[in-house]
Point group: D2
Chain length 392, copies 4
């Protein structure tokens, strides 16, 4: 298994399984001299933690983070930050419980492909690295990115916009409205009326032993123009890469996405204008703040499709990989009826990691290019001052 590293400039590597001893997270590219403590990271982890509502798996994990490297007297030193999170529930406790299931993969789950790839050596205790537990490491790294991005005036905020086909007006809310409502319900849909419908529906589905999927939307505010590399490393491509690497995500769109595909050019083009202060602005934001893979100073808007949790509490046909026979898999009780609410901080984390990484790449480029480039020189100290994003 390779591919446990994300990023070029702000680079993260993680390891750890569902019931292994611990998750480790190493982040490099952290600026020196920034205040950093566990209190910057724990709140984000707490948002993702299971066992808190009736929509989560009942597993109890404290997800307590420790900073073990890169900080001295409360400030970052420039060295890579090392994060450590012990599992409370570990293999030892569960290995016999899981041993009985290990030869019968859950339909829709990654167990079967892990088995195909790693053979009998695959980690079968709670799905190992295919478990949602892996995403806690992403959230921890993302919390660190959040702190750095805040210094640049960049805020990333995600929320549920749809569950099981129940739409909401979340996309139309202002950031202030989203901020105010987002944590009011466990499903993290800021349109509270829709949120109630989603809750009712999901509880009903839960009672039936089933699960539901949904759509998570995410906005990044304050991203200066110029972030994203024009060809393969477009901002949109790197965000898509990050989000599509989250377990259960099956689709991603930027701006109006699949809606744009139905339109005329004249309907989809965002008109450009100078406002009264000679700041460059866009009349609309169909593009989701990204043109040609580069941020245009407007809000970055992305949306992703989350499939229903594959683990359900009803009988399902499956196979026994040992006996090579078709069998019936019994209902599994320990599960999330939906992961939509809990996945919100994970989506935010990946958006932050992708943006911060490309922001650092761009800063490096600008710093070298500025050398004899007066136009950029004028632009660079605070690009947003010149090309300020629309503030609708």
């Amino acid at each position: 298994m390779v591919g446990n590293v994300f990023g070029r400039a702000f680079r993260v590597m993680t390891c750890g399984e569902s019931y292994g001893g611990a998750l480790l997270i190493i982040c490099e590219g952290v600026p020196a001299g920034m205040e950093l403590s566990e209190n910057d990271i724990q709140p984000e982890l707490d948002r993702r933690r299971p066992g808190q509502t009736e929509f989560d798996s009942p597993r109890q994990e404290k997800d307590q983070i420790q900073i073990v490297a890169g900080v001295q007297e409360g400030k970052t030193t420039g060295a890579p930050v090392g994060l450590l999170m012990f599992n409370v529930d570990t293999q030892m406790k569960h290995i016999d419980e899981y041993r009985s299931y290990k030869d019968v993969p859950r339909p829709g789950h990654a167990e079967i492909t892990y088995f195909m790839k790693y053979g009998k050596w695959t980690d079968w205790v709670g799905a190992g690295r295919a478990s949602g537990r892996e995403t806690a490491a992403r959230v921890a790294a993302g919390a660190l990115a959040k702190k750095i991005l805040a210094r640049e005036g960049i805020e990333v905020i995600g929320y549920v916009s749809e569950i099981h086909g129940i739409a909401s007006k979340a996309s139309g809310l202002t950031v202030e409205q989203v901020r105010a409502n987002i944590e009011k319900t466990p499903l993290r849909c800021p349109d509270l009326e829709a949120a109630q419908k989603m809750i009712d529906d999901t509880l009903q589905v839960k009672d039936d032993g089933d699960t539901v999927g949904g759509v998570v939307e995410c906005r990044a505010l304050g991203v200066p123009p110029g972030v994203g590399e024009p060809v393969f490393d477009k901002l949109s491509a790197r965000i898509a890469y990050g989000i599509m690497s989250i377990p259960s995500v099956k689709g991603i769109e930027v701006g109006d996405g699949f809606e744009s595909a139905k339109r005329l050019g004249t309907e989809d083009n965002d008109h450009i204008y100078f406002d009264d202060n000679k700041k460059l602005r866009f009349r609309t934001n169909h593009s989701g703040g990204i043109l040609g893979g580069i941020s245009n100073g407007d809000d970055i808007i992305v949306r992703c499709a989350v499939k229903p949790t594959s683990t359900v509490s009803v009988d399902q046909p499956s196979v026994n990989m040992q006996s090579m026979e078709n069998v019936i898999l019994s209902p599994i009780t320990r599960r999330d009826p939906t992961i939509c609410g809990r996945i919100v901080p994970v989506v935010e984390a990946m958006v932050r990691l992708a943006i911060l990484d490309l922001l650092m790449v761009n800063r490096g480029y600008q710093a070298v290019a500025r050398n004899d480039n007066p136009w950029l020189d004028h632009l660079a100290p605070r690009p947003a001052d010149v090309w300020s994003p629309p503030q609708d």
Copy 2:
């Protein structure tokens, strides 16, 4: 500008602009001893080439490819393959024509963000590297990948499934039907009835000076189980990364994608079974052949949203970046009413590059792991023999 490299094991780097001297493409990871000539690459480029139908920009480029490195007496040597494609139309011819436009960016186009990023030094002749011309390099590299994948029994085929909201039955066609119909119309929709509606609509839109977007679907057949790395480098994530890096693509989904988000778990899970020959199969393919980021042996299915071409032939409000004034941008006549047909080979190319790259990564892992892993040893010589994909 960085990010002109794609891949880890099969790695591609490209350069070249709309009206620069040439496109260069270097591909490493090419196996030695494979027959390779320009005839393997030219046909794919010809599929993408403009100026061939009433739906393309009228620009005339031969897109003639030359292999200048990595081949000896008609066979690859293992060295990186170097590809060279001169532009016929170059800066010299067009620089004055474009000079008049250079300060007024086209709405919806990347010109404005390139300007924000590179300042007055941005390449303004035909949009430089933001031009669709850059995608010819992807197609050339993809044609090389196609040849290698064919040796592994892997085929990638793309087609248009929707234009301007006109749906088709393309997704429901067999591969044989798709193959038979795909090149019958310039819009490359294999549902010929729908294709005719799309053609009529697009010609009407073209007459109005406008453009349309659409959806391109792509299938990869014969991908063995085990391709894709479980965490950040999921097969789905790397395909999304590649496809979202194509100009004009605003969304991507794998398998049922955003439809899955509306479903119950019991509706979305693909049931697993052994067929009469004890081969592992899946009853349905909602997952698009990828579970936990790893191929399951079933068809890989992806779909992407292509926005309407931003260059339209009607008056549009814009700005003059030199005078800092709001202006009206005059209609531009040289343009594609839709790029959906021409983008098909580009989408195929990126899917091929992503799959080949991860296939090589997986082979490397297996080769080392096999050392004392009899189960994998049994599996590895031809995984498909043991875990054969469903053949519906």
Copy 3:
């Protein structure tokens, strides 16, 4: 600070400082199904650990390693292996002791450049990440690589061949002789007569408050032909990259290195011949087992220059970075009179990491290339059988 990752296929990331909370090490590319326990790693760490002989810093650290990810029931799962090593001595205990020194950098030490780079935020407690303590993480990762390489029949062995200008006959010893003698003295010079001279000299130097440098030689046995990528990623280049990244190493040579520069071509060329069993062999090994950056099946031989420890116990002129004045730095008592013995396992570790990484890259290439390449097919199952290395 970036650059905390080493490798492409077998990839390692580390973090942790001299007196931080812990060192974390994540390794990916580990094959599944391999037995692995702390007992595979601890012995290598114990070889590097300080406080054991009169040649080491008296610091007491247990360097106790814990495997916290990637292993299940004693076998690797294919997931990245996570290693954790808590510091016993931590910042808390030493911060006041070091505070008094922090503004006066030690000549020859990295403190001054860290300060130039990270400013006042640099980690000044025991030199932070510039401390030799960082190398414990390399040794831990290298121990894992050792276990994997052993399955491939590859052994890496290092030893001291010179200290403070005192030469030895170590290079001329057989591997068996080296193995037998290497751990007999704390300076790890297998020529025991020379070792005794080195010990006597170093103890004398220690009494004078001074330190000494030396040369470490390292052999890799059993590397099959074909490892190393011909242009930038030559086996020699990647080994040099790895070794030169070890603190205090100022030079590296492969084979006869700088001696070769004094020779005629006819003196330096290693003649090739088939032995009686039609196995390909080389009469001499001036090349150090690498030609054109690719292993030739012969022993890989490298040698590196280790400068004397910069921390000495005599008065030295320096500066106070706070007061901006020239000052005298007082003798420092806690130090290694030479690190040559302790650096041996670190050099071995980097050689192993470089070789394993390129071995995996080569296996991936071969696995894909074999597809229609009968010559390679014949070669690949066990290259050493066909092109066996000389066994003199």
Copy 4:
């Protein structure tokens, strides 16, 4: 074959063989707005070009470079720069000539390992990618790096300091003296007296059909403090990586290198002091300008061992890989009696590429870190103003 890419931020990929159609070079990370023409690159290539003196292979190649991408109206656009160099002498002309040799590898040459790795498909016409011709691509990329580094006030200069054991006083010369003398003799040793001895010796050796090796030294002046990443990506490690990847280089040292290994700490430590202008300086430069992998503002000094050209003009024992017999390889007339003079621009190129790459990485870090780090803020606009390098 992978590993044809060098660099992280300033990244170069190359392809092309001895007698292939062309060399292609793509460089990304080039700042926009810099004047660039073929005249910036051609002179460096002309320095490396064969067929110019009695010390070179007589092969006639014009090495004429064309810029085909990344430049508009004489200025860089920020897009990757594409360079193209056609071979005049190509496979077609030489394939029959070389066919007779192809089964008998030259001792000391990479042909045998290429054969072991790529089998019969290896490029046997003039050694393909193992030919020194590959280094022309490095020189072209290095010339571009030279232009960018010049804007930062950084100069890299290399020269021969020893040939066939004949030492020189080159290391002791001032940069002005080196600059004045370097091109006065074809062997590029600026100590003209020693140069004459080297010339006489090499001509004698040439008459005997033999070849000689030597040592190339290289200085980088004006590198600001702070360049180089502390752990694996040390400036010394990346320079070593680059230089050791040059064909025929068998060793590298930084600063006093292997001499340091013979010293006491008190002899080797460079004392730090503030000069009368309160600028930080070092009394000596044993370290070669790098401490802990980070530049200290002093001159960077490296030295590398170049083995004698393996192709000699006397009978040598070898093998026939086809007949599997031991044979005598006849003298080969077309060869360089020494490559030391011609390799100088190649060494300079790799030093430039390594430094520029890490300079850009550091600038990216600083640009982000500066955000709330007043100390760095003060430092960053022109680090050299504050921490000026010693100007002895």
